[in-house]
């Protein structure tokens, strides 16, 4: 066993023991504990938990790499996955917290006085969450296999066992406090290599500043150097216009932002704080903790890209740094000496380019590129696992709550006792873990593609129904239902057509107004808004008690009383 492997087992072992310890300490005793951690979570702790819940294996491992290859356009992910929290803080979280209860479908059902609305909302929530969670379990397996050389499937099973422990035992309460620990692990694991690389390249210890500083070897500003290197090799300038049209970047950013604000596993985190004012500030803390990683990622991207162009390109293979051959073994880096000169040529032109690079390497190989000690490499593995496990747990909870609370308790068998309901919730969580694990072991080919669309679907379904439910007194059952159904069907149909039915026509010429399937959720959302408003105009207004409900959720005082169990 190598030194790095030993360190990885030690650090991963310690973090896993910590997660299990927290799970035992914070067992759920009631459905209130299980669904919303008894609404007793401190806003800063909830901010951290939201950060871990939100930042998945993809944020941790892949995002910097995606940006490194997209350049300026990568900003659509950075803005898209942070801007939604502003919407959450100002338009959703405080009102949903005042409404109380346990789930997003609870709100939809009561505000639109309809069981059908609840069922539609539950099905949307389950669909969105399942597509998302499969990718997470796969991520756990991949991290295990890369750092510890166990088969991917063994990794998935270890991950399942851990999540099973704290999700089934602790419910939301267990998940919340493990997520706090997981946030700490993942942010340290992300920042430490970034800080060291920033110091090495620019002398500035803050990556966010180092990124705009001069290189310490006297080559001028880092980004100018990177632009120069990129254009020399035939790539577009790093900070210049990318390959996507402005309208598409705009629409994708809207879909990601609004989708974030409509994702059930994110919204539900704001049900766990004691007061309305805590829901507002908690969104601020969550975004602060998220932005710490999201402003570091573009710096990591620029450092890694520059490093790659400088240290590997046009160098003889025999003189390549040792990390090059290490990562070549994993298949994430590949070199094919097309012109037999023994020199690595990296070019935009695929005919002469000899280097293939997997985007994930930008984060995974970072500590080795910066020649950091072995324990830092191990920390990155623990960070990747923390990111994947925390997101998976949050999603599993939404699924189990949807089944036990929204379907069984509120639709199928309303007479279920609380004790029974808690049991169903645990069984639901158990089943969801196993199912997610199976999806991780046998990933259906479409999962990776569908995850990106979960945002568009959330944007086109939940977001307008919730916003209109709070900010308009006139939207009624008929309006909201037809809006949600048209929004999600339009968006899903567009995505399915271009991704699965006719993938060969998936290009800007055939797209509606030049909008790619990733950005179409924005149009779906607009349709949802328009249809909800128009239909509500021509159908009976919502009943009197709904007016009182709306009046009540708009005012903070009294959130404590509405928080009781049911």
């Amino acid at each position: 066993m190598s030194n790095i492997e030993l360190w990885t087992w030690i650090i991963v072992g310690i973090t896993f023991a910590l997660y299990i310890g927290i799970a035992i300490w914070s067992r759920a005793k009631s459905t209130g504990d299980f669904y919303v951690a008894a609404k007793s979570v401190h806003p800063i702790a909830n901010g951290m938990a939201t950060g871990a819940d939100w930042m998945s294996a993809a944020s941790f491992i892949s995002m910097a790499g995606i940006i490194a290859f997209m350049g300026r356009d990568g900003a659509m992910y950075l803005m898209g996955w942070t801007g939604g929290y502003v919407l959450l803080a100002m338009l959703l979280a405080p009102y949903l917290r005042k409404f109380g209860k346990f789930t997003v479908p609870d709100f939809v059902a009561e505000r639109y006085y309809s069981k059908t609305a609840r069922v539609v909302a539950v099905l949307c929530a389950i669909f969105v969450s399942f597509t998302y969670v499969a990718g997470q379990m796969r991520g756990v397996g991949i991290v295990f296999s890369r750092f510890l050389e166990v088969p991917i499937n063994t990794g998935v099973i270890i991950g399942m066992a851990i999540v099973f422990m704290y999700a089934v035992l602790g419910g939301m309460k267990g998940i919340t406090y493990t997520q706090v620990a997981q946030y700490c692990v993942l942010i340290f694991a992300y920042l430490i290599p970034a800080i060291f690389i920033s110091i090495q390249m620019t002398g500035n210890p803050v990556p966010q500043l180092g990124f705009g500083s001069e290189l310490s070897d006297g080559g001028g500003y880092l980004l100018d150097k990177l632009d120069g290197l990129s254009t020399e090799l035939g790539f577009a300038a790093y900070t210049g216009r990318g390959s996507k049209s402005m309208i598409d970047v705009f629409m994708i950013t809207v879909a990601l932002m609004v989708g974030t604000a409509g994702l059930p596993h994110v919204i539900i985190r704001f049900y766990t704080v004691p007061r309305v004012r805590d829901a507002r500030s908690s969104a601020g803390w969550a975004l602060l903790f998220i932005a710490l990683l999201y402003t570091t990622a573009p710096a990591v991207a620029a450092f890694a890209r520059t490093n790659m162009l400088q240290t590997i390109n046009d160098k003889p293979y025999t003189e390549a740094p040792s990390w090059f051959s290490n990562w070549e073994k994993t298949g994430l880096l590949g070199w094919e000496d097309k012109n037999d000169d023994g020199i690595i040529q990296y070019r935009a032109d695929t005919a002469v380019n000899e280097l293939s690079v997997d985007r994930d390497i930008m984060v995974l190989a970072n500590p080795e590129i910066a020649q950091l000690p072995d324990w830092v490499v191990a920390l990155v593995a623990a960070g990747g696992l923390a990111a994947a496990l925390s997101t998976a747990a949050g999603l599993l909870l939404v699924i189990s709550t949807s089944v036990a609370h929204d379907l069984i308790k509120n639709v199928i068998a309303p007479k279920t006792t609380e004790k029974r309901e808690l049991l169903y919730a645990r069984i639901g969580a158990g089943f969801a873990v196993v199912l997610a694990g199976i999806l991780g072991i046998y990933p259906p080919g479409f999962v990776a593609q569908v995850v990106a669309f979960a945002f568009g679907l959330a944007a086109a379904s939940f977001f307008p129904a919730i916003i209109l439910g709070i900010f308009s007194r006139k939207i009624n059952k008929e309006g909201a239902l037809s809006g949600m159904i048209v929004g999600i069907i339009f968006t899903a149909a567009y995505i399915i057509y271009f991704k699965f039915i006719s993938p060969e026509s998936n290009n800007a010429e055939n797209w509606l107004w030049g909008i790619s399937p990733e950005g179409i959720g924005t149009i779906g959302m607009a349709l949802n808004f328009i249809i909800s408003i128009v239909v509500s105009r021509f159908t009976p207004a919502p009943p009197e008690e709904i007016q009182t409900l709306i009046q009540n959720i708009r005012i903070p005082r009294g959130a404590g009383e509405s928080a009781g169990t049911h």
């Binding site: 940006i67 300026r72 990568g74 900003a75 659509m76 950075l78 803005m79 942070t82 801007g83 929290y85 502003v86 803080a89 100002m90 338009l91 405080p94 966010q208 990124f211 705009g212 500083s213 001069e214 500003y221 880092l222 980004l223 100018d224 900070t239 210049g240 216009r241 402005m246 970047v249 705009f250 950013t253 007061r275 309305v276 004012r277 507002r280 500030s281 969104a283 601020g284 975004l287 602060l288 932005a291 999201y294 402003t295 573009p298 009046q551 708009r554 005012i555 903070p556 005082r557 009294g558 959130a559 404590g560």
Partner: protein
């Protein structure tokens, strides 16, 4: 206008102003006007690029905390705050 309507109207005004800033900084500076702003230097960054990859995210955090503050004061002023 009743007191509660007034409270709600003020809340909407705050949200309107803050979301306008939200839109201008991210969609305006980071996407629509990015090429124009990129002609301006901001330390080692082009300004449009900086807004897209750093400035928007930082602004978002500030906007939420400003809103929290404004609303905490407003809640107190209209006596609808929580204990």
């Amino acid at each position: 206008m009743s007191k509660m309507q007034e409270y709600w109207r003020k809340n909407l005004t705050y949200v309107g102003i803050l979301l306008t800033i939200w839109f201008v900084v991210s969609y305006g500076f980071g996407i629509l006007l990015v090429d124009q702003l990129d002609t301006i230097r901001f330390f080692g960054f082009k300004l449009g690029f900086w807004f897209a990859q750093q400035g928007s995210e930082i602004t978002f955090v500030i906007l939420i905390f400003v809103y929290v503050r404004l609303m905490n004061n407003l809640d107190r002023e209209y006596d609808v705050h929580e204990e």
